[in-house]
Structures are given as C-alpha cells and as structure tokens.
C-alpha cells in the first residue's frame, strides 16, 4: 500500500536500470544520507566518533572489499588483516616521506599499493579453491605481519616498532593526529565510505561484476563462455585489496592514530571481517554495511546495557556478551542463512505486497 511500484513509470533506460527503482527507496536513501552528513556531525562527541562511527566506517570499508572478493567472486580470503596492515604502513610511509600530500590522496594511494600486494597474493587462487584457498591466504596474513615486524624501514627504525600518524590537515581542518574534531574525522571517513560504496555498487552491476559472479557460480562454465579466469580473479583480488588497504589507512591514520602490528592487525581482524560479510549477506553491498554494524556495534551496545545499564561486574558481562553474540549468530543463520541482507530483501518483498500476503 505504502511501498509499491504501482504508478512508477520509467521513461528512459537509465531510469529503468536504477539501483533504487522504487521512489520510496530513493527518498529514504537520500534522506538517510542527508541525515548522516548534515545532522549527525552536530551531535557528535569523541566517544560516539571513536567508539561507534569510525569503527563502523572502517570495518564497513573492509567488509565491502572482502565481500567483493568472497561474496561476488567466491574466493574465500583470510588475509584481510595483512592487507589492512599494508594500507596502514603504506599510509605511514607516505605521510612521513611525502609531507605535502593530503590525506585523501594518501588514503587512495595506500589502497593502490595494497591492491598491488593483493594481486601477488591472489596468484594461488588460480590453482587452489575453496577452504584450501582460505588457508593459503592466511599465509599472506602471517607473512605480511612478520615482514612489517622485521624490516625497520617500515616503521622508520623507531625503538619500539610502533607507528604513529603525524598530523595532516585538509581545508585547514586537522584530519589525523590527536587534536582532531570528531565531526571532521567522521565526515572524512563517511565521505570515503559513501563514495566507494557507490563505486562498488556500480562495479558489481557492470561487466566486471558479472564476470566475478560467473566465476563464483561455476568457474569452469564461465571459462567456457569466455570469461577470463586470470583477469577476473586477479581483478577481484586487486579491487578487494584496494578497499581493504584504504580501510587499513583510515584505521591507522584517522581512527586510531597509532598502530602496533601484532595487536592492530592480527588474525582476529581477518576472521571478524569474514564474519561481518557472512552475517550481513554474501554478495550484497548493503550486507557488508549491515554486517559491519552488527559485529562492531553489538558488543558496544551490550557493554553499555549490561555494565552501565545494569551494573553487572565487567567480566560476567563480557562472558555473557560473548555467549549472546554467538547465540545471535547461530539464531540468525538458522532463521536466514543468507544473512541479514537477505532478511531485508524478504521484508521488502513482503512490504511491496502488503497488506496482501502474496
């Protein structure tokens, strides 16, 4: 009744192919975007920025990257932590080596460097498939972390091996370093996420996305009809690592401000991002965002509710939180194995027919 296509007539091919064919959706999207860009920054403080929004943006970017590789192209990868580290270290070297570059260019360049590394580590995918490939990408994870640990050039030979982001400004406002305004970092990260989620959406709807999905569904058949597996798989690795590298650069420079490689990018990060896309929905842009929100924000929510809300002791609250999150994951998977995005799609389908059941 409210949410329907009746009365929507498309007069151009372009309109027909739009991402949001129903005008209700389009309005909702633009209103939400306007809210996020124009309204939220006025109400932000450090806590909301550092503990809620920035983690969500950074991990959403990483989840987008991994979803392109695993959800759209079917190559399971557990090297996310290592590629984020590449992005972080690349941005560190660029920030300290080329002080006149602005943060946006540095982030994009770090992403490109990570893309190059991603292509190299993606080569085994031409021979290995499935879970074996996942474990092979773990080699990338461990090797990259070891490499950053070993060669002092990466951390400018500091005695502790820690890297810290020096201050960089854009349009006169500090983006990195300790003296940043929470609204500024929020807008910077949100801007990047918005632009690149848009890019990702259009990539996966285009020819290259279709070749990825062909490889995912049945790569031998895809090869037979002319999809080049080498180009497709390596391009998936490249684009995915680009996004993940940018996430790593944002993590290091904008969100955290410092990183210590064994603690910032361990194997847990790789697993967490994989969980995000599985819970959110493989092969769905919205799924990446929702999954990232789920995994980064649910623990914070539980902590606030259990410890501050109900005054439980911190360790019991933490244990209960872990059990609840595990239980919720299992519950979600039983209810809708294809992730929250699939639940959302089903809900929208039902809404289109509401109040009729079918």
């Amino acid at each position: 009744m409210l949410y329907r296509e009746a009365g929507e007539f498309k007069t151009t091919y372009q309109a027909d192919l739009a991402t949001f064919p129903i005008s209700f959706d389009r309005w909702a999207f633009w209103i939400a975007t306007a809210f996020a860009f124009l309204v939220v920054p006025w109400f932000l403080d450090d806590y909301w920025s550092e503990a809620v929004f920035l983690p969500f943006f950074v991990y959403a970017m990483a989840a987008l990257g991994l979803n392109i590789l695993t959800g759209y192209c079917g190559q399971v990868s557990l090297g996310t932590g290592g590629f984020m580290a590449v992005g972080a270290y690349a941005s560190y070297k660029l920030m300290t080596g080329v002080p006149w570059l602005d943060m946006a260019s540095i982030t994009i360049l770090s992403g490109l460097i990570a893309a190059g590394v991603g292509i190299v580590f993606g080569l085994p995918s031409l021979r290995i498939k499935g879970f074996y490939l996942a474990v092979a990408t773990l080699a990338a994870q461990f090797f990259l972390i070891w490499m950053f640990n070993k060669w002092g050039w990466f951390y400018n030979y500091s005695a502790s091996g820690q890297i810290s982001a020096p201050e960089r400004t854009m349009f006169g406002l500090a983006i990195t370093g300790a003296e940043t305004n929470p609204a500024v970092t929020y807008l910077f990260a949100l801007g990047f996420l918005f632009v690149f989620a848009w890019v990702a959406r259009n990539l996966v709807r285009g020819r290259i996305g279709r070749s990825w999905m062909a490889i995912r569904d049945m790569d031998i058949a895809a090869e037979i009809i002319g999809v080049n597996p080498l180009l497709s798989k390596l391009s998936a690795f490249a684009v995915s690592s680009f996004y993940i590298g940018m996430a790593g650069a944002l993590y290091f420079a904008v969100w955290k401000g410092a990183a210590e490689r064994t603690e910032a990018f361990p194997i847990n990060v790789s697993f967490n991002v994989l969980f995000m896309i599985i819970i959110g929905g493989l092969g769905s842009i919205l799924g990446s965002l929702v999954g990232a929100a789920f995994i980064t924000l649910l623990p914070v929510f539980f902590k606030v509710a259990l410890v501050e809300g109900m005054g439980w002791p911190t360790d019991i609250a933490q244990h209960i939180q872990v059990i609840l999150i595990g239980g919720i994951i299992i519950g979600f998977l039983i209810a809708e194995p294809h992730g929250i995005a699939a639940l959302w799609r089903t809900a929208k389908e039902k809404l289109r027919l509401w109040p009729f059941p079918h």
Partner: protein, 429 residues
C-alpha cells in the same frame, strides 16, 4: 536497522548516564577475560582492593570517596580506546591501561584531552622524559632500567666481567618484547658480551625452535621478556632442556606465580626482577583484612592475595592515591581535576618515611617525580622462585640501572618522537 540500534543504545546510555558525582573518579581498565586474563585478574583485584581500603578505612582521599569505574578491555586496543573515551568525560583522574598496546594508543589522546596516564613499568619507555611527555608517567622504572639492572646483577654474579660470554634474550615479538633490545645492544658494546636475539611469535604456545637455538648457542644467561602463555611455555621448555634455572632471569612481567606453577618442581630457582615486595608479610595486609576481606568487599574471589601481580596492583593504586593527595595539598581543595592530578603526579614524593606511615615498610622503592623525570628512580631487585614452598623471595637489595646508557637512549628516542610529531619540549625549571 543501524539507526534503530543507535537509538536504543543512545536511549540506554542516556537513561543511565550518571550525573556528575561528587566523588573522585578512578577508572580501572582491566582485563578479566581474554588471553591475558590470568595476569589481569590479580592486578585488577589488588588495585580495586586497595582503593576499597582507602574508602572504608579513611573515608576516601581528603574526605572525597573514590568512585571506582571498572571497564573490561580484554587486552584489546579497540575496547581500551572505547573505555577511555567513555570514561574521560566523567572526570576520570588517571588511566592505567596495563597494556603496552593500549598505552601507545592513549598517549596522544591523553595529551590532547589533558588526563594523566600512569604506565607503571610498561608502555613507552621514553615517556620517562617528562619534558617531552608531560601527561605520561612510567615510574618506578622502565624496561630499559630493567634490562640494565639485570645485566648489572649478572655482572655481579660473574665477578664483574662478561667478556666473551653469551646472553640470550627470548622475547615476545611485539613492541613490548623489543623494548630492551637497544639497551642490551648498547650494554653489550660496553661490557663485551654477545647478545643473541630469539623472538617468539604471539602467542608463544610453541617454542621448540627457540629453545633448540638456546641449546645450540649455550648462552650463560637467558633473559625472558614474555607475557601470558609465552612465559609458562618458556619456563617449561627451559626445564625440558635442563637449562640452569638460576641463570634464567625474567622481566617483571614474566615474574608471577601463573608463569612458574605449571612447570612444577622444575621451575625451582627461576629468577626475575621486581620493584615491590612479595607475599603478605606487610602491615598494610592487616588493614586489608580488617576493612576489605572481612567485610566481604574484596574484588574477585580473594585467592590472589599475596601474589606478585596482586601486590603490583596494590602498589599502583597506592601511588595513584598518593598523587591525588599531593594534588589536594597543592591546590588546597579536595575535588581535584585531571589537570591537578597531573600536577600531583609530577610533585609525587613518597619516601621511606611515608611508606612506613602507609604500612608499606620495605615493600617498595621511594619515589620522587620531577618535571623532567617521569620515570622514577629506576630501581629493581631480583626475586627467586622456590618450587617447594611455591613462593617468591627477594634475594638482592634494590639496584639502580646504568643511568649513563639508559638516559642517553631516553633522550634519543624522545627527540625522535618529538621530531616526527612536531612537538616542542617544554621547559622544566
């Protein structure tokens, strides 16, 4: 979906937001879960119990009750930052993250937000230079002090010379583990020993290759710079290759009962460095019994009393309380702000007389902090494990580090940090 979640969290947070209280807020970043929980629990218990003692026995500090805010970090940097951000607006007076990783993250933040950070014997060593790091304190000693003191002890044991000897460092392959390397390298140039570096990857559950190297190289002494399961496995592996335990010396974070108990009798004779006493044989324990244990107010299950890390938590809390008292004296009012707390830390002077007054006779070193020296006296003593009685015993008097070497390194590192981050050191009159 995302918006709903935010709305609910916001609603819950706002609904239970505590109004600005009249108490002194002491945040407690602890890890009672996660991979380092066995070490985090006794420290958190000790810290909590001492603050409870002050509330119960003295009615708080200067009449103001202490509001202990515990926040679980699970040794995870993300959670640590989240805890910091959520507590800093509540008037938090000082942060002690008990994690080198979280400390590194918080150093720029506390400097921007103006809250003192006490990274007691861990964290960024060059923060001992108070001119460069006005908001960070790491007394009573740093890792570089510890390394130097251990070498001094070895020198004593070896009759004053180490020429031609081999000393191995088995370290956790992280920022924490790498801290002593520069100092040990400088000292090896000075004293003529050969330094063998043996990193162990996190978590350190499997160290066969490392200890095979120790077998091959046959160093006279092995230094252990580990944390968590790496310590237990290292001690077991050392016992398995029959390495003489009294030549195996750990840093103060590889020196707790958790590390030696799993190895049983074979860990007998293992040594480590410390900066406070062990066991319950101190006057303040009587007070703890009367005001905390007997009243059922102890944090945790009370099984950690007297343990090394429990005592460490107590001493950390003691210094925090004394800093608050000093701040109250300096400003003349009881309700101090974080910036005044920092001044209190910087003017901290807990000498032997004051330690006796507090019931801490012979428990720890006298500490005097100045504007330029946030690293304290840099003293340490060696303790040894007795596997039969399952206790530690301090076997040397408190020794000082080689200040010449350590101070030069502190200066170099803090200057590099200042250059990289465009910080001008302040003047200390």
């Amino acid at each position: 979906m995302k918006l709903t979640r935010f709305a609910v969290a916001a609603a819950v947070a706002l609904a239970v937001a505590t109004p600005a209280s009249a108490d002194l807020v002491f945040p407690m970043l602890s890890y009672r879960t996660g991979p380092y929980a066995p070490n985090g629990i006794p420290f958190a218990d000790g810290y909590h119990d001492y603050l409870t003692l002050i509330n119960e026995r003295d009615g708080g500090i200067g009449g103001e009750k202490i509001d202990i805010r515990e926040c679980e970090t699970a040794y995870n940097t993300d959670k640590g930052v989240e805890c910091y951000e959520s507590l800093k607006g509540e008037g938090a007076l000082s942060f002690q993250p008990l994690s080198t990783g979280i400390t590194y993250q918080l150093i720029p933040k506390v400097t921007a937000d103006g809250i003192p950070l006490h990274s007691m014997g861990y964290g960024r060593t060059s923060a001992a230079n108070g001119k460069m790091f006005p908001w960070v304190f790491n007394f009573p000693g740093t890792y570089w002090d510890a390394a130097s003191i251990i070498i001094k002890y070895i020198l004593q044991e070896e009759g004053g010379t180490l020429k031609g000897k081999k000393i191995a460092l088995v370290y956790h392959n992280s920022a924490y583990g790498k801290e002593p390397i520069r100092t040990l390298q400088e000292l090896s140039k000075k004293h003529g020993y050969e330094l063998i570096l043996l990193p162990v990857d996190h978590p350190g559950q499997e160290q066969k290759a490392t200890w095979l190297q120790v077998r091959k190289e046959r160093p006279s002494y092995v230094l252990l710079w580990g944390w968590g399961v790496m310590n237990q496995v290292a001690i077991k592996e050392a016992a398995a290759i029959r390495y003489p335990m009294d030549h195996f010396i750990g840093v103060w974070w590889s020196a707790s009962e958790n590390d030696t108990l799993p190895a049983g009798d074979e860990a007998d004779g293992y040594k480590a460095i410390t900066f406070h006493g062990v066991g319950e044989d101190f006057p303040f324990y009587a007070d703890l019994k009367t005001y905390v244990y007997d009243k059922g107010l102890s944090a945790g299950d009370g099984s950690n009393k007297g343990y090394v890390l429990y005592n460490r938590g107590v001493v950390a809390a003691m210094w925090a309380v004394e800093a608050a008292r000093t701040a109250q004296k300096l400003t003349g009012h009881a309700k101090i702000t974080p910036s005044e707390m920092r001044d209190g830390y910087e003017a901290l002077d807990v000498d032997e007389k004051r330690l006796d007054q507090l019931g801490f006779n012979n428990f720890t070193v006298a500490v005097k902090i100045t504007c330029a020296n946030h690293g304290g006296p840099g003293l340490g003593a060696i303790q040894q494990w007795n596997a039969k009685t399952k206790t530690w015993k301090i076997i040397t008097p408190y020794m000082s580090a080689d200040r010449e070497v350590v101070d030069a390194l502190i200066k170099e590192d803090s200057e590099a940090y200042a250059k990289e981050n465009d910080i001008t050191p302040r003047d200390c009159m």
